[in-house]
Amino acid sequence: MKGNGTAKQAPAPTPTRLALRSLRRNRAAMLGLAVVLIFSLAAALAPMLGLPDPYQASLAQALEAPSREHPFGRDELGRDLFSRVVHGARISLTLGLIAMAIGAAVGVPVGALSGYWGGRFDLIVQRLVDIILAFPGTLLAIVVVTILGVGLDNVMIAIGIASIPTYVRLARGSVLSIKEIGYVAAARAVGGGDGRIVFRHILPNCLGPLIVQSTFQIATAILWAAGLGFLGLGAQAPTPEWGTMLSRGRLYMRVAPHLTAYPGLAIFAVVLGFNLLGDGLRDALDPRLRKV
C-alpha cells in the first residue's frame, strides 16, 4: 500500500492536487459524485426536460402502474410520478443546500471566534451548545417547525438551526488546533485584527473538515426534511416533495406500491450519494487517511 507515490514525475503536487488525485482513485466516492451530479442536473433542468406537468391531475388514470410512457407510473390523482420525483429533486437539493448554509453561516463564525477568543465568550457559547445538543436533533427540528409553522421554508430554517451546534463545535475545534501555530502569531505580530486573523488566516486552513461536514450535513438535511414532510409538518399537499409524497402514497401501499417505492428510492439514492462523496472527501483531505 505504500507504493502510492512511487512515480514522482509530476511537478511538486500541491495538497489540493494530492487530495483530488486521491478522490479520483476512490471508486465509491466517484460513484457518490456521479449520483450527486445526476440529481443536481435533474434538479436544475427539471422544467426543461419536457416531462409532463407534475401538478396535472388525471383522475381516470389514477394509481396506474409503471409503463413505458410513465416509467414510475401515476400517483393517486393520476399525476406522472417520474416527473414529480424529478421535480422533488429540485426541492430537496435546494432545501439541503440552504439548510446546510444556514447552519454553517451561523455556526462557523461563532465557533471560530469562540475558539479564538476563549474566555467567557467561549464558555457561554459552549454551554449554550451543550444545551442545544441535549435535544435529539430530529426532535429539535420538529419543535422549531412547530414554532415557526408548517411549511417548506420553515423546515429549511428549522433544520438549519438544528445543525448550528455541529458547526460551532467543528469550527471551534479546528481553530483551537491551529491557532497556536507560528504563522498565526506572525499575523498577530504584524498587527492583524481578530476578525482578519480568524477569517483570512485561520479559517481557510480549516476548510477540509468543514467541507466534509457540509457534505454529510446536506444528506442529513434532506433526510430530516423528508421525515418532517412524512409527518405532515413539511411541504404541503400538491408540492412534489419526496417525504410528503410518501406519506400520501402509503395510503395506497397495498394496491399501488410504486407510490411509496420511488420517492423513497430517490431519497435513499441522493443521501447515499452525498454520504459516499463525504467519506471520500474525508479520506482525501485528511493526509493520515490518504493511504489504502
Binding site: 454551554r127 449554550l128 451543550d130 444545551i131 442545544i132 441535549a134 435535544f135 435529539p136 436533533g137 430530529t138 426532535l139 420538529i142 419543535v143 422549531v144 412547530t146 414554532i147 409553522g149 475545534g173 483551537l176 444528506a219 433526510l223 423528508a226 421525515g227 412524512f230 409527518l231 405532515g232 409538518l233 417525504g243 410518501l246 402509503r250 401501499m253 397495498r254 406500491p257 411509496t260 417505492a261 423513497g264 431519497i267 435513499f268 443521501v271 447515499l272 454520504n275 459516499l276
Partner: protein, 307 residues
C-alpha cells in the same frame, strides 16, 4: 460525581429552552383550550387559570415549581394529566428504543468485528456496503418497505400495532438499521486501529489463539469509541422513534407528540419534549460513567483536555 453536577446546568438550560419554545408557538393556548367558539369572558378565565396573565419570569417560576413537583398540567385535548399520559406512553417508546438499540449493537458490533478481521475481503466489502445502505435509508421508508414485504406479501409479521413480540420485530429492525450501520463502521475502524498496536503484536507473538487476541485483547480496547457512538445513537433513535411509531401505529411517546403538535396541545408537547430530552441527557451521562469502567485511564477528577 462531577459529571452528575455538570448535567444540572444543562437540564436547567433545557427547561428554560423548552419553556421559551412553547411560549413562542404562535396562537394562544387559552383559545386552543377553550375552543374557537368560546366567548371572550370564558377565554379570559382560562387565561387566568393557566397563569398566562402573569409576567414571563413569573410564569417560568410556576413552570419550574410544577416541574419539580412532577406536575405537568393536563392535556388540553384529552383533559388527562400529562404525567399519566407520559407514564403510559414512555415505557412503550422505551421498549422500542431498547429493542432497536439491541439490534444496532448486536448486528453492528458483530459485522464490524467480522469486517475488521477479514479486511478488504468480499465479506468486508459487502458488510460495509450494507452498512452504508442502512445509514442512507430513510427510516420511515425502510419501515414501509419492510411492511410491504413481510406483512403484505409474506404475512410473517403484523404490519401495525403493539402487543406480542412479533409486533416488535419490524419496528425494531426499522429503527435500528441506521444505527447498526453506524456502529458497524465505527467498530470496524476502531478494531483496525487497535489491531495495529504493539500489544496485539505481543499477544500474537506469545502464541495466543487469534480468537483470544481478537475478542479478549482487541475488542475490549476497541469498544470505547463504540460505546460513545451507541450512546449518541440514543438521540437518533429517540428522534427516529417519532417516525417509526407513525409508520407502525406504535402507541408510544412519538405518536403522542406528533398528535399533540398537530392539535396544538401545549402541555403534552412540553412534557413529551422534556421527557425525551432528559432521557437523552441521562443516557449520555451513563455512557460517560461507563467509560471509567471500560478504560481505567480515564478518571473524572481533573479537567481533561478537549474531547
Amino acid at each position: 460525581m462531577k459529571r452528575l453536577l455538570l448535567a444540572i446546568p444543562v437540564l436547567f438550560g433545557v427547561s428554560v429552552l423548552v419553556f421559551a419554545m412553547i411560549r413562542l408557538i404562535p396562537g394562544c393556548p387559552a383559545v386552543a383550550m377553550a375552543g374557537v367558539h368560546a366567548d371572550a369572558q370564558f377565554i379570559e378565565q382560562v387565561r387566568r387559570d393557566l397563569g398566562l396573565d402573569r409576567s414571563l419570569p413569573a410564569q417560568y417560576g410556576m413552570f419550574l415549581g410544577d416541574l419539580l413537583r412532577g406536575e405537568l398540567g393536563r392535556s388540553t385535548f384529552s383533559g388527562r394529566p400529562v404525567l399519566r399520559e407520559l407514564a403510559e406512553r414512555f415505557p412503550r417508546t422505551g421498549e422500542l428504543t431498547l429493542a432497536s438499540m439491541g439490534v444496532a449493537t448486536a448486528v453492528g458490533v458483530a459485522a464490524g468485528i467480522v469486517s475488521s478481521t477479514r479486511r478488504n475481503s468480499p465479506v468486508d466489502n459487502l458488510g460495509m456496503v450494507v452498512a452504508l445502505v442502512g445509514v442512507a435509508m430513510p427510516v420511515f421508508w425502510l419501515g414501509l418497505m419492510l411492511q410491504l414485504l413481510f406483512s403484505v406479501q409474506l404475512g410473517w409479521f403484523p404490519a401495525t400495532g403493539r402487543g406480542t413480540l412479533t409486533h416488535l420485530v419490524l419496528p425494531a429492525l426499522t429503527l435500528g438499521a441506521a444505527s447498526a450501520g453506524i456502529v458497524a463502521r465505527m467498530t470496524r475502524s476502531s478494531m483496525l486501529e487497535v489491531l495495529r498496536q504493539d500489544f496485539i503484536v505481543t499477544a500474537r507473538s506469545k502464541g495466543l489463539a487469534e480468537r483470544v487476541v481478537v475478542y479478549r485483547h482487541a475488542l475490549k480496547n476497541a469498544m470505547i469509541p463504540v460505546v460513545t457512538i451507541v450512546g449518541l445513537q440514543v438521540g437518533t433513535l429517540l428522534g427516529g422513534a417519532v417516525l417509526t411509531e407513525t409508520v407502525f401505529a406504535w402507541p408510544g411517546l412519538g405518536r403522542l407528540l406528533v398528535g399533540a403538535i398537530l392539535a396544538r396541545d401545549y402541555p403534552v408537547i412540553q412534557g413529551g419534549v422534556l421527557l425525551l430530552t432528559v432521557t437523552f441527557v441521562a443516557v449520555n451521562l451513563a455512557v460517560d460513567l461507563l467509560y471509567v469502567h471500560l478504560d481505567p485511564r480515564i478518571r473524572y477528577v481533573s479537567r481533561g483536555g478537549e474531547s
